[in-house]
């Protein structure tokens, strides 16, 4: 009997507080993103698979085929090849294959590149029909991106 009224009033008050909370939520804007029709932008540090960076004027990749990314990758995802440049200074990239099926997004390749040639992309909604769709040809992707 002693707690009867305190329980009654305390309980009623807590019920009203609850109603107030849900009412305020009702008035807040909706945060749902209607996914395929609208999409989210990823944050700046988001790690998608790596992509090549191209020189602004020439459009050629910055990569000098030093092979540091290939050596530093713990899963052996990267394989690249180059040929001697026409100007005689350094190498020019001919193929850059990323095997994304084994990539763990550790970032050792990006960290080890001293030529600002690779960076993380913002791709998050990859879907493919077979495993081969995830062996990325980064040079071809760069050309598609540059349009």
């Amino acid at each position: 009997m002693s707690g009867y009224f305190s329980e009654l009033f305390g309980g009623t008050w807590s019920l009203l507080v609850g109603l107030g909370i849900t009412f305020r939520y009702m008035l807040k804007p909706v945060v749902t993103v209607q996914y395929p029709r609208q999409s989210l932008t990823m944050t700046p540090r988001f790690r998608g698979h790596i992509e090549l960076i191209a020189n602004e004027e020439t459009g050629a990749p910055n990569c000098v085929v030093c092979g540091m990314c290939q050596k530093s990758c713990p899963s052996n995802c990267i394989s690249l090849a180059g040929e001697k440049s026409e100007t005689g200074k350094g190498k020019v990239l001919t193929k850059y294959i990323l095997n994304f099926t084994t990539c763990s997004l550790c970032g050792m390749c990006v960290e080890s590149c001293k030529f600002n040639a690779i960076t993380f992309s913002k791709e998050y909604n990859l879907a493919g029909p077979r495993k081969e769709a995830y062996i990325f040809d980064l040079k071809k992707r760069l050309e598609e991106r540059r349009g």
Binding site: L8, L15, G18, L19, I21, T22, F23
Partner: protein, 208 residues
């Protein structure tokens, strides 16, 4: 009663026990009736139109605000509202529907139109409860401020919609009560309070 018949038809012993429990809950809803009796004592009539006409005037003539007749009118209204929620198995009191989620309730065997008819019945029940509450307590079709927007059926609809909004608001706020919680609430709180209310109204009517 319909629930009792269904339980019997399904013929499973555990469901019959469940029906008895539901029946006990329903008995606990008498306090809703007691609240209405209290109001009828004040209005001296059971004619719903007359009850609405008696609430003519301004906002403070609505029965919910007539604290001269009975200081606990607000509580009366709340009790009536809670009972109509419990009666329609709505919001925090929807134990019967919950058991169908566990494939043991009375909804399970019905599908398609049968289920649809059940749900329409439930919603109609909700609308009736809200309508009754607005007629008895909230002034039916009376406007709170006559000169601004005149009386009419639109006020009635507005009030019914407001009450139904409150029912939905309660549904999305509170978790489901247990059967113990529900019976506790009804027998230990709602019934004593509504009986006290009845006695208080009688006393006030005799004294004033």
């Amino acid at each position: 009663m319909g629930l009792l018949f269904e339980g019997f038809k399904l013929g499973i012993a555990s469901l019959w026990a469940h029906k008895l429990r539901t029946g006990l809950t329903l008995l606990g809803h008498i306090m809703g009736v007691i609240t209405v009796i209290t109001l009828v004592m004040v209005t001296h009539t059971m004619n719903l139109s007359e009850i609405v006409v008696q609430q003519n005037g301004n906002l403070f003539d609505w029965y919910i605000f007539r604290w001269g007749s009975n200081p606990l009118m607000l509580i009366s209204f709340l009790i009536f509202f809670i009972c109509s929620l419990a009666e329609t198995n709505r919001a925090p009191f929807d134990l019967g529907e919950a058991e169908s989620e566990l494939i043991a309730g009375y909804h399970t065997e019905y599908s398609g139109m049968g289920f649809g008819v059940f749900f329409m019945g439930e919603y109609a029940n909700m609308v009736i409860g809200a309508s009754l509450a607005t007629v008895l307590f909230l002034g039916g079709w009376q406007s709170p401020y006559e000169a601004l927007i005149p009386d009419g059926w639109w006020w009635f609809l507005a009030k019914v919609y407001f009450l139904i909004f409150c029912v939905m608001w309660i549904r999305w706020t509170y978790p489901r009560t247990t059967i113990w919680g529900l019976l506790n609430l009804s027998w230990k709180y709602l019934i004593p309070i509504s009986l006290f209310n009845l006695l208080l109204t009688g006393a006030m009517l005799t004294l004033f």
